[in-house]
């Protein structure tokens, strides 16, 4: 049984058919990436898995349970966490408060311990503990969004374009952290436009084009594929 199984999913925005019957799996311990151009339907897919959007048909099961009738705020305690597109940290709250919100569903006694772990992973956040999140740089906000998601101690962490808008050096850093998280046992579903970086860390990958999965394989296979090179890797 896979940790996450998406089957023949169809999602609409009114009359717009954004996701046209996609199926994919994430096994426990894997990093799986979903790559695709802007507008391909990557964010729509993640939002549907986390319950923010409702599909017209298809199924999603997480850890053996069908999730589609469960409201998003309850899915968190099943072990599902999402780092949203554009980070979506709480800009008017402090770094520490953002992390506390990440642990909203956890027992209060555990929060300090989780926070210490997040600060170990992101020492920059520790230094800015009392700072308002709106005053952080883009890279720091991305770290905060990731740290916040980790506070819920997820089984599966879904990341929506963590490299968006970041300088190359910061992108490297963020991907290093993703690799670290993976090594320490978190399963990861990574959505990216930055195909090169995503394929370099992924165990398996899927290519999403206008709502359909057109290619799939291991990260290495796709990085070597002519079609992917042409469309996503600049030649």
């Amino acid at each position: 049984m896979s940790l996450l199984e998406v089957n023949d999913l169809h999602v609409y925005y009114g009359a717009i058919h954004a996701i046209k019957g996609i199926s994919f799996k994430v096994e426990e311990g894997e990093i799986v990436t979903l790559i695709g151009a802007n507008g391909a339907g990557k964010s729509t897919t993640l939002k549907t898995i986390s319950g923010l959007l409702h599909p017209r048909s298809g199924s999603v099961s997480f850890d053996g349970k069908s999730t589609l009738s469960i409201p998003p705020h309850k899915l968190v305690s099943y072990g599902l966490a999402q780092v949203p597109e554009g980070r979506a940290v709480f800009l008017q709250m402090t770094v520490a408060e953002n992390l506390e919100m990440g642990a909203y569903t956890r027992p209060p006694l555990e929060v300090a311990d989780s926070m210490a772990k997040v600060y170990d992973l992101f020492p920059r956040l520790k230094e800015r503990e009392k700072q308002i999140a709106g005053t952080l740089s883009g890279g720091e906000q991305q770290m905060l969004a990731m740290g916040r998601a980790l506070m819920s101690r997820p089984k599966l962490m879904m990341l929506d374009e963590p490299s968006m808008g970041l300088a190359p050096i910061l992108v490297e850093q963020i991907f290093d952290i993703i690799k670290d998280l993976h090594r320490s046992g978190t399963t990861i579903l990574l959505v990216e436009q930055n195909a090169q970086m995503a394929l370099s860390v992924a165990d398996r990958a899927y290519v999403l084009e206008t709502g359909k999965i057109t290619l799939s394989g291991t990260g290495k296979e796709l990085a070597a594929s002519e079609e992917v090179k042409k469309a996503y890797l600049g030649g």
Binding site: H73, V76, M93
Partner: protein
């Protein structure tokens, strides 16, 4: 001395406005809607407490508690029945619904309690059993501040302090701030957004009940329309201070109260409203987000 006594009555009036404005601003912050019916919840609070002491023989303070409980439930019901189904609707649809709820409350009150004004007995009688005024006398009795005024001002400060503590220190209070900023992200944290909005209405409505009792203690004629004008002034106060901001509502409420009292004393009673709203317009021209509000450009 005269000035001082006008100032105190302004602060006192302003304290009531501030308590109402806090309810407006908290609800606006989280639900992004103007709860037009907030003023009428004040009126219901007034009637419930009136029923408490006039018909049920309860003590004034117990009546206040009763009004708070009833208004809390009422606030949760209004939100759940009227506003929650409109979460995805346009803000115009929500505003019109809120105006509808306001009329519904006023007409229900008319049906239940009739059109004849009730004479409200202040929470703390203005005159003691010995016939002497229940007031603190200062400067050889030249300045007298009623105990009712002192309680009102103290209530406002305590409420403000409690709300500040609540939103900055408690889990639910922080969840409210998270929801006011980004509902989707709040849900991804595991926060039940609907329940949090409902709790905000509960708090706002309990505050409205307190405001109702204080207001009627100063203006003892209680009618189904009693809440409308103070509601509008408090809304003005919330906008004046910066809608969505808790300290803004406090400051705005006090200033509107003081301006109103001064205008009544030194300009004219009839012109007091015009003065209040002129000041509002001028402030909004200079600072569109209000005194303490943060101007946040619409995201495109």
């Amino acid at each position: 001395m005269e000035f001082l006594s006008y100032l105190i009555s302004g602060i006192c009036l302003g304290s009531v406005y501030a308590i109402i404005a806090l309810g407006y601003t908290m609800v606006y912050g989280i639900a992004k809607m103007l709860n037009f019916a907030h003023g009428d919840v004040i009126m219901i609070g007034g009637y419930i407490s009136f029923c408490g002491f006039a018909y049920m023989g309860l003590n004034g303070w117990v009546s206040l508690l009763l009004a708070m409980v009833v208004c809390t439930v009422l606030g949760i019901l209004i939100e759940g029945l009227a506003y929650k189904p409109l979460r995805q609707a346009t803000s115009l649809a929500v505003l019109i619904t809120a105006i509808g709820v306001s009329y519904l409350l006023q007409n229900s009150a008319l049906l239940i309690w009739g059109a004849t004004p009730k004479v409200y007995a202040p929470l703390i009688p203005l005159v003691g059993p010995d016939g002497a005024p229940n007031a603190l006398r200062l400067f050889d009795g030249q300045l007298s501040i009623s105990y009712m005024s002192i309680v009102t001002m103290a209530a406002c400060v305590i409420i403000m302090a409690l709300l500040t503590w609540f939103t900055s220190r408690t889990k639910l209070g922080k969840a409210m701030r998270a929801c006011s900023e980004n509902k989707a992200a709040a849900q991804l944290m595991g926060i039940n957004v609907n329940r949090t909005i409902s709790m905000t209405f509960a708090i706002g409505s309990a505050l409205a009940a307190i405001a109702g009792v204080l207001l009627c203690s100063f203006n003892p004629t209680l009618m189904p329309t009693t809440g409308s004008m103070p509601g509008i002034r408090a809304f003005t106060a919330a906008v004046f201070g910066g809608i969505g901001s808790i300290p803004g509502a406090f400051l705005g409420g006090l200033l509107i109260g003081i301006i109103e009292a001064m205008a009544k004393a030194y300009i004219s009673t009839q012109l007091a409203n015009s003065v209040v709203f002129s000041v509002l317009i001028i402030v909004l021209l200079v600072r569109p987000a209000g005194l303490l509000g943060k101007y946040v450009p619409e995201k495109v």
